[in-house]
Every structure is written in structure tokens, then in C-alpha cells.
Assembly symmetry: C2
Homo-oligomer: 224 residues x 2
DNA sequence: GCAAAAGTGTTCTTTGTACACCCATGG
DNA sequence: CCATGGGTGTACAAAGAACACTTTTGC
């Protein structure tokens, strides 16, 4: 009989980098938050494992892939999420020594197989920018287009042209104006926007934002 | 402890329709081929279940999604494949009453949950046409561009313009000439082509074939 | 008045789409 | 000679990519 576990690739954008959430148990390597299945729907088991180990609750999970583990007697179903770190304080669970965000491009040695899951999560996230308004989850209720662009640039790992970005975001109708920011420091104050209720029909056009990316990494997931 | 099973959405193109392979056990509804996991890698378990129940071997499987089943005490990991029906004769396994291809748009009542898996498989297959030379798996070693186009039209469920199709396929460099067919019946004999070793780098351009499709069904797989 | 960030349009290239006729063969 | 399927090119529309200067503020 096969054991089933769930594991989570939870990402955030911070300090200009894309980070993953890792946990450490006494005497073990850093690992993705993970847990057993307890007969709830898989996504519920995943949410519980995350809550128990990291204190993070109420986030939207998306299933990634199911991996063979431990000489094939374990199946790990992986989930991914993108959240705002500052809205989800970390609280290490009972047998967790430490919970921390790590930059995706500077990860410690991970538990076996977890690097694959992180890779899948990263690829899927980049692909999603092509058709879903991902960044909205990361920003405060109102934000400037500069902030929005910065998030996209970190996720995609590539510079975007400001004029094209603004044209596309505004043209897609996914944001609406929300006054003007009075910001510290010099520089012209930016207009604020808020996300217009995530209307997926309209959002189709948003794939123009860095559309090339969404198509480039057409990852082959075939199992030989 | 959770039970894990594998199930397979195996598709083919036949008589101008896209078909799915279903099996029937005594006293049960039609269902996808499925089986338990026996501690091999999941893809191996899936291949074995398929071989045991349908006689089909040596095909390329791609993992689709993992579903909750039976009040959440079962996890079903689904795989998909696209194969040439005439190269894989059907041989019902021990406890299988019947194995048959069914047109995707005229399915019988299926075991619970299996319709979802079929839906996922279909969506994924259409999406793949945008970047992978799927049809190559279905045709004999040499084929005409007319045959190739017919396969794409069935998979996509939409008519393609012949001139654009030829331009794109030839421009993508995924096929090379292989003489001329002497075919039965009237009509100008067609040139034959063979697939040029599936060079994925080059194939990138193939997404121009029906590229719109690949992007249209950006299926949301998020789990609330 | 200058450093800093915000805001704004146009041109060119590439890609996608629509469309109609001649060609070679079997019967 | 005609019915059948094979083969070919061009023009227009849409999307993507590249690019530089003016505006508003804090100090």
C-alpha cells in the first residue's frame, strides 16, 4: 500500500527576489512544508499541513504534480501558492525548528526530491503570468503601476518595458484608478490603482504582458 | 492511510473523431483503465494497469492530475496518452468484459470522477498541439500533409486553412520529404513526408499551428 | 535647480488570418 | 472529360518589441 503525502511550494516576492518557504525539523535538511493525507480532500490536507507547520492559512492552492518518493513507496502530491509574505506571519509548528523564506536562486540543500517540486512551481508560476493576474495577490489593496511592474519583473526574471506594460495592463481593464499616492522621498507621486474584481473574461488580454514567456517554457512533462 | 490508484486517459484519432479507450468490468459502468499502485514508479504502475487490462504496451504517458475519490480515502493519479489505434490491438484483461474506443463526444455513463479525468486529458491534448508535434505519434512512418492536417483538425475540433497549415508545418522543419505516394482512387498523388527526429528546439515554431487554441483554454486548475 | 520617480505615443517587425485557382491522376 | 484530392502565394490585420522625453515632486 502506498503512502500519500502532500507538499507545498509557497512563493512570495520580497526585496526584488522570488522566495520559497522552507521549514526545518530537528536534525533534518531544509524541506518544503509537507504532511500526510488524512482522508480529507487533498487540497485540504495540504492547507492543514501548511497551517500546522508555518502558521499560514487562507491561501489559494493549485495542484502541481505528483511525485514518486522514497523508493516509490511514497507518493507526494505537490501544491503551489503565491502569497504576500507580510500578510502571513510565520509561526513554526510543534516539531519545526525554523520556518524561513529563501530566495529561489539561493536555496540551501533540500530534502530529496524537493528541488524538483520547486522547479515545477517556478515554471508554473511564470507560465501563469501569461494569462492570470498573479501579482494582485501580492500587493496591498491599492498599488502603483510601478509596484505592479516590479512584481512581474521579479516573477519573470526579466525587464519589462514601462510603456508597453502600462498600455497592456490598463488596456486589459484589470485595474481601476484609486486616487494618488503621497509618497516619501522625491519623485512625482504615482497614481494608485486597485484590482478590479478578477474578471477572467476580460483578463484574457493580459497575456500580452510578457506573453513570450508563457509560451517559451512549454515544459515537457512526459514520463517516458 | 490513503489508497492510491492510477488511471489512464488514452486517446486516438479514428474515423474523423477523437476517441477514448474505456473498459468494462462485470456488472460495472464503463470506466477508464485503472489499477492499484504496487510500489513501482507511478508511471510504471500506470503502464502495467493499461497493459493488463487492454493489452496496450510501449506507449508514452504523461501525468495529468491527481484526484480525490471515494469520499477522499482514495487518490487517483491520472495519466494521458495519444496513440495510433491500429498499431495497438486491444486484448481485454482477465476481469475485463470489454475494451473499446468511444468517440469523445459520445461517451457512455462513466464511473464516478472519470468524466473529469477525460476532460483534463482532452484539454491538455489540445493545449499540446500548440507546441508539440502530437500527430506524429498517430501516423505511419510516412504520411501526407493532408493526413497530418486531418489529425490536427480532429484534435482541435476546428477547420484549418490548408495553405497556412502547409506553410507552418514545412517552415517549422519538423518533417522532411520522403518520395511520392501512389494512392488508390483519383486525385493527384501526394508527396510523402516523414517526421524529422523530434527536435524540440526547432519545433518551437510549430505553435503557430492553431496557436490561438493553445492559449484560449488556459484552464484554471486552482483548488479553492 | 537637480535628483528621482511617474507618465506618455509612435514606428517597425512579426505573426496570424483570410482567401481562389491550377495540377495530376483514376475511372 | 470529369471528379477527386494535392499543391501554391499574396494582401490585410493584429500583436509584439523597441525606443526618448516631459512632468511632478522633495530636498
Amino acid at each position: 500500500m502506498t503512502q500519500v503525502s502532500v507538499e507545498l511550494v509557497v512563493m512570495t516576492v520580497q526585496d526584488g527576489a522570488l522566495d520559497v518557504l522552507l521549514v526545518r525539523r530537528p536534525g533534518n535538511a531544509w524541506a518544503l512544508p509537507q504532511g500526510p493525507t488524512l482522508g480529507s480532500p487533498l487540497s485540504v490536507d495540504a492547507a492543514r499541513a501548511l497551517a500546522d507547520q508555518t502558521g499560514i492559512t487562507d491561501i489559494r492552492l493549485e495542484q502541481l504534480y505528483s511525485f514518486d518518493r522514497d523508493g516509490d513507496t511514497q507518493v507526494a502530491v505537490s501544491y503551489m501558492a503565491l502569497i504576500a509574505a507580510d500578510r502571513h506571519p510565520l509561526a513554526p509548528g510543534p516539531d519545526i525548528v525554523e520556518v524561513r523564506w529563501f530566495p529561489l536562486h539561493d536555496l540551501p540543500t533540500l530534502a530529496i526530491g524537493h528541488a524538483d517540486a520547486v522547479g515545477y512551481g517556478h515554471a508554473r508560476l511564470r507560465a501563469k503570468t501569461a494569462y492570470a493576474p498573479i501579482a494582485v495577490e501580492l500587493l496591498p489593496e491599492t498599488f502603483t503601476l510601478g509596484e505592479l511592474q516590479a512584481v512581474y519583473e521579479v516573477v519573470l526574471g526579466e525587464h519589462l518595458d514601462t510603456r508597453n506594460f502600462r498600455r497592456d495592463v490598463l488596456g486589459a481593464g484589470i485595474v481601476e484608478e484609486a486616487g494618488t499616492a503621497r509618497r516619501p522621498g522625491p519623485g512625482r507621486p504615482a497614481r494608485l490603482y486597485r484590482s478590479r474584481g478578477t474578471d477572467f473574461a476580460v483578463v484574457a488580454r493580459e497575456r500580452r504582458i510578457a506573453g513570450r514567456i508563457g509560451r517559451t517554457d512549454a515544459q515537457e512533462t512526459s514520463t517516458e
